[in-house]
Amino acid sequence: MGLKTAALKKSIWVFHVACSPCNNCDIEILDLLTPRFDVERFGIVLVGSPRHADALLITGVANTHVTPRLIETYRATAKPCVCFLFGACASHGNFFRGSYNVPRRIDEIIREEDPNAIIVYIPGCPPKPEAMIAGVVKALSVL
């Protein structure tokens, strides 16, 4: 484990990238910050800029309009960073795989931009908050 990865794992700051979601994963992510789940006790904080972030929380599918903005956001994030793909849409496209406005999966877009990207899939529609926390913990423990 490199020094950078060790530092990354300490207390991750996250930036929320809602691509073309149905809002459901998004409200569950916000739910994680509220008293019942309260992920701030693990040092996970929602920040206002990708430049401050250690991880991107990506929800929804990437449509043609949002794809260039997603790539730009990924470029702006300090490396190394972790990309968490929340929900079935972000992981594999869900219902929208065949849609005319959804050309590519999100992991394909990110891999094309950076072949060494760290991508974590958390499936479910929407994943329960417990599953989200478990996914984040699992990903950090294998890094």
Partner: protein, 405 residues
């Protein structure tokens, strides 16, 4: 005077969803606002024509995660309208119960976010904490916290157990106490009065002119609630029984919008309680039978306003046309009436006050030659006239439209 332009979006910490605002400023005052959407268009209407009638509710549920019963509800009402079938009473009551539970959690969610926008993070934390009990009840009733999948053509998709109903009753009791506490907090706090009263006023004339619906129009004095104006399922009976009432206020500012939502939450709690107490026994679904040609409309009062679905069938197992009209589509342009003349610090709140839901809204986008463009009224008229003339030419009819050339 030099004009300043302030862009916000598409990924911004204030916004849950991707959308792009351009504010034209003069000092601190907003002169004009421009909303650019299209970041959320996923092609639902086209996808729906590739799925069978019974699969479409699962797709339209994913139009929006917050009002995820409203879209399938309006869709099944449209198909039932087309087929002329009547679901059994228990199925109707279950659907209405889930619809009202959704309204409670959606309004509490909005209340929390509104508190967050004016800097009262405590309100955010508390509102979302009390919302959790409602979500627990939803999970026990339907099996999921958000996408409930309880609507089906011909009734409810699954039955609810007595144990789940008892649990829901308890959750409603605790939630009523906390909602009343919020009502007291909103009504008594002098800071909230100063911050919200007289801000972002939408007059009754503007609300009608912009076709605003739901909790955006009712604070402006427009009495329009689909549950009352065109009752369906269990809403007519509960209204006659006096279980709930429509909330209408007069001022149209952000304060009234907050008060209407809190009072509506209380009314929904009373309605849910009535529905559980009067839940009939028996079947909860009927078999829809043969599909035939035809078209149908259905509308439902979503937490944000009227949601409207239209379907057309050619007798096959798939809809050949499916049209969705979401409430935010008509509520969005009210920014043009309520934002100009306000301080930039208030605009975040005003834009949030209609409870915008962009993932519901995005139905039309034009992409030609890699460029995204929007069509004006003149362009649309021109396109329409051209198409009519082309059809006339093909059919060999003498055109009467030459004057439009």
């Amino acid at each position: 005077m030099k004009k300043t332009i302030l862009p916000i979006g598409p990924f911004h910490p204030l916004l849950e969803e991707p959308e792009f605002f351009t504010f034209h400023l003069d000092g601190e005052t907003v002169i004009d606002v421009d909303v650019r959407i299209g970041y959320n268009h996923r092609g639902h209407e086209k996808l729906a024509t590739g799925l069978t009638w019974d699969q479409v509710p699962f797709l339209v549920e994913r139009i929006c995660g917050i009002c995820s019963t409203s879209h399938p509800y309006a869709y099944v009402l449209a198909v039932e309208d087309m087929l002329g079938i009547e679901p059994p009473p228990r199925g109707k009551y279950i659907r209405s119960l889930i619809g009202e539970m959704e309204r409670i959690h959606s309004h509490l969610l909005w209340l929390g976010l509104a508190g967050h926008f004016i800097g009262y993070n405590t309100v955010w934390m508390w509102a979302w904490r009390y919302r959790e009990e409602i979500l627990d009840a939803c999970e026990l009733l339907s099996g999921n916290r958000n996408h409930y999948a309880m609507c089906r053509v011909g009734g409810a998709r699954r039955d609810v157990s007595q144990k789940a109903l008892d649990f829901t009753m308890k959750a409603l009791d605790t939630n009523e106490k906390s909602t009343k506490m919020f009502l007291g907090a909103v009504a008594d706090d002098p800071v909230i009065h100063k911050r919200l009263k007289g801000v972002g006023i939408l007059t009754k004339e503007d609300a009608i002119a912009y076709c605003a619906t739901g909790p955006t129009s009712r604070p402006s004095g427009v009495r329009w609630d689909i549950r009352e104006t065109d009752p369906y399922d269990a809403y007519g009976e509960s209204l006659e029984a006096g279980a709930w009432k429509v909330i209408v206020t007069e001022n149209g500012d952000v304060f009234d919008k907050a008060v209407v939502r809190v009072l509506e939450t209380l009314e929904s709690i009373y309605l849910c309680r009535w529905l559980i107490e009067n839940m009939p026994d028996g079947d909860f679904q009927v078999v829809p039978g043969e599909m035939h040609e035809g078209e149908g409309c259905g509308h439902h009062e979503a937490p944000r306003g009227e949601v409207f679905h239209y379907v057309r069938s050619d007798g096959s197992n798939k809809p050949i046309r499916h049209k969705v009209r979401a409430p935010t589509f008509s509520n969005l342009p009210t920014y043009k009436a309520s934002c100009p003349g306000e301080q930039i610090a208030d605009v975040a709140l005003i834009t949030a006050a209609i409870d915008p839901c962009y993932c519901c809204t995005e139905r039309v986008g034009v992409i030609a030659g890699g460029k995204h463009s929007s069509l004006t009224q003149d362009d649309l008229v021109k396109l329409s006239v051209e198409k009519t003339m082309e059809i006339e030419k093909r059919m060999g009819v003498k055109s009467v439209l030459n004057k439009f050339k």
